[in-house]
């Protein structure tokens, strides 16, 4: 079988998505850790348009953009399917994945918020997004994929750990059993899935990383 390589970055949830999919499919791959402050020649060659991780390289051919990589993995290794086979259900799964992408700016606003009111408003907006996801995408299911996780769970996976760490750093509480009971339960269940449990970064290491990211953001805002 042709060689599979993944260029990633250890704290990036986009990188983690690809790892989860590869592991669920049982695909052997070589992981290449990229230093984003000093990107490798290979990365720049494989993703000249965005110069970002993750990039999957299969038999020498690169694929960039995590969600496109996920669809590629699903089509190339169809066992342990991560998307419904019914075209309508598949379209709905893709809709909810895209919804997460569309709401990315709201998340970024929260990540970049400084000062009480700014952060409060950003948090309020993001909570609204989470409520829609809980109500319309998850509903009463255990996972977005039903009894087992699928690409929608993988796409929203960062909520279960990365976002929880950010909440700690910002001293906010959004994803709580009192405000989002079903989504909170989903997050717990998600982290119990063996593939997820075994691959997410060490909590303290990730928390420290996010603190550093926030410190940099705040410093940049003050210098404006």
């Amino acid at each position: 079988m042709a060689e599979v390589k993944l260029h990633g970055f250890w704290p990036s949830p986009f990188s983690h998505r690809v790892i989860w999919a590869l592991k669920i499919k049982g695909v052997d791959y070589e992981y290449v850790e990229e230093d984003l402050s000093n990107k490798s020649e290979l990365l720049l060659k494989y993703n000249p348009v965005y110069k970002k991780i993750p990039v999957l390289v299969h038999g020498g051919k690169p694929i960039a953009e995590s969600l496109i990589i996920l669809e590629y993995i699903e089509e190339t290794w169809p066992h342990n399917p991560l998307l419904p086979s019914d075209p309508y259900d598949k379209a709905m799964a893709r809709f909810w994945i895209q919804f997460g992408v569309d709401k990315g700016p709201i998340f970024l606003k929260l990540l970049h918020s400084t000062g009480g009111e700014d952060q409060e408003n950003a948090a309020k907006d993001f909570l609204e997004v989470l409520k829609i996801i809980e109500e319309k995408a998850l509903g009463d299911k255990k996972f977005f994929g039903g009894d087992t996780i699928n690409l929608v769970d993988i796409a929203y996976g960062n909520l279960a750990y990365w976002f929880k760490n950010l909440e700690e750093v910002l001293s906010i509480k959004l994803l709580e059993p009192s405000t989002l009971p079903r989504l909170s339960q989903w997050a717990q269940n998600f982290l119990e899935v063996p593939v997820i449990k075994e691959t997410i970064p060490d909590h303290d290491k990730l928390l420290a990383y996010i603190r550093r990211v926030r410190k940099k953001i705040v410093a940049e805002q003050l210098n404006k």
Partner: protein
Amino acid sequence: MAEEVKLFGTWGSPFSRRVEIALELKGVPFEYIEENVSDHKLKSPLLLKYNPIHKKVPVLLHNGKPILESLIILEYIDETWKQNPILPQDPHERALARFWAKFIDDKVNPPVWRALLGSGDEREKAMEEVKEGLETLERVLNGKKFFGGETIGMLDIAANFIAFWLRVVQEFSGLEFLTPDKCPALTKWCDEFVSCDVVKEHLPPREKLIAFTKNWLSGNGWTD
């Protein structure tokens, strides 16, 4: 087998027109419902029922089930009606088609409007972004007749904005986004694309689009 296919769309939207082209290409008969997108109060109750989250067109209704987001609809159409495939068979080629379709929507479409609306430095910057994007696509096209090869595929359909809307804006505004000296193959592609039988009937009336766009630019809303 009786099949009910309805499309909620709007005459001026490239996203809406993409779906029309795909249905035409596949020879799928459909009922078209024109939506008034300028006034939220005038949007049909059916549209609001089928797309409560975004309240936007296009919405494809197949046997009563709504599918949303133009690129997701294109994938659904390809999976449901197998004749005249619009996506390649090879997973890597499919990933590339998806990547470049997203590139057009993220990196080429928005700065065209920013250039049109902006002035001075902001306009210059937006122009540069569009030109860079088009030059990248010139390389992707690589002298082929269509992005899909000998016949149009999903990426050609996704690039409808460039073939028509971008060139219309270019003509009435004088903003030179696409030139034959920098992008000879892409310029030729535009002419080939708009002359395709399945595309011809699914482009907005040129003068109407110019009138509406000029009016919108002067702050009078989307009307003529």
